[in-house]
Amino acid sequence: MSDAIIESGNVAAAMAVQLARAEVIAAYPITPQTPVTEKLSELITSGEMDAEYVAVESEHSAMAVCIGAASAGVRPFTATSSNGLLYMSEQLHWAAGARLPIVMCVVNRGIGAPWSVWNDHQDAISQRDAGWIQIFAKDHQEIVDSTLKAFRLAELTHIPVMVNYDGYYLSHTYMPFETPEPEQVDAFLPTFEYKHALNPERPESLNTVTLPDARRDVKSIQRGGYMDLRHNLHEEMRLAIKVWQEIDQEFQKVCGRGGAPIIDPYRCDDADFVVVAMGSLANQFRDVVDRLRDDGLKVGVLALQIYRPFPNSIIAEALQSAKHVMVYEKGLSYGYQGALYGDIKSALYPYPSRPCLHNFIVGLGGRGIPTESLFQTVKTACVQDEQMSPAQADEPRWIGLQL
């Protein structure tokens, strides 16, 4: 284990990618992701990292190069943000459907129009149904650890993994973190092997028009049709929740860190009021929780570490003793409500205890999220017994509007 390093979140990500021995880096610069790829290109140029850097002309091409590299059995990495992620979208679906183990860091940023370079989660949320696993890191140490674990997860499940971390809040701030020794990573992350790697000895056409029905191939082996392939992607993504937990345990043995791969509850044990959030916002809430506890309120914060596959039963069970659950988020399903709120609500539906739910939208396009306003809104929700109709209670409340 290294001594504590003090660096930016983007450099933390690049160091993890170096340790993971990624072999092909294809990326197009976009704020606030740019320093990750700059750092990686420096490491490659200086010979500290044995990889090929492919300078592409767009994010769509970046993902296409990663698809090609993974198909050839080579470990790829890319990173992007915001509109760059959207420009990749078609290839994201392709990578997932082709079951390619690709790891990508998404440095979360608001989507244009109107143009914004500041943080929110709408980029990741908009791609939540692409068939990618989506991890959210809360701090620099989690960027390092999640990125390393993401390579293992992608390669075991053959499902691509997005490691999300907040633009600026994490990407450009400096925090201490540790990195494992290269030998430790090598023991944890074996050489990349792609099950369907291209092989000139065995020529195949991959992912061409796939019929609605299953078929017998030339060797009379039953081959799934489109729906069967998609079914297995879904089922195996569900199974990935368990695999992510197992990987976390392996990682703990090697590096001594981890233990909260799915949810990371803080002072939730006896909490009547539980805040749920993703990314750095969940860590910001720890201060809020401490202050509310000082005021005698039984409040906790539960960080959601993985958004897709959605750990619905784990979350619902963790919220069974809460009376009120407050979902704070930086992304929404326009025309409805917060995407995470909607997911949590549906996760709770089959369970006997359904706490009162509250939805708060914060920080879109980098709108400041003063800890004081989080403190006040949670406190108000805790102490006021507002009389609202079910329809009113289900509407998201926007924090910090300046209208």
Partner: protein, 103 residues
């Protein structure tokens, strides 16, 4: 190495008849070879075989008298178009069904 609990289905096909499913069901017209015109059949020598080469479904045999696997021949007519001896005629499949009815 992938986890053994995962099947990791992908769509892949190798060249050969039937690898795209029962494409014979798509057929509207059926290729019929006139062996009196077909070069290998007429000369008794392995020559030409352009129908074998061009067939996108790989369903024409490379025999002196070429045969077509109608289970998978999709009726595209490429063989008829490529045949240098105009030995292949595309005949509506319906004619054969009518013929069957008459029997």
């Amino acid at each position: 190495m992938p986890d053994p609990r995962f099947k990791i289905l992908t769509s892949a096909s190798t060249s050969g008849p039937g690898d795209a499913g029962r494409t014979g069901s798509w057929r509207v017209e059926r290729p019929v070879i006139d062996m009196d015109r077909c070069i290998p059949a007429k000369t008794g020598k392995h020559a030409c075989h352009l129908c074998w080469l061009y067939c996108p479904d790989n369903v024409v045999s490379k025999d002196l008298e070429p045969t077509i696997d109608l289970e998978y021949c999709k009726g595209c007519g490429i063989c008829a178009q490529e045949c240098p001896a105009q030995a292949i005629e595309m005949i509506p499949d319906a004619d054969f069904i009518k013929g069957a009815d008459r029997e």
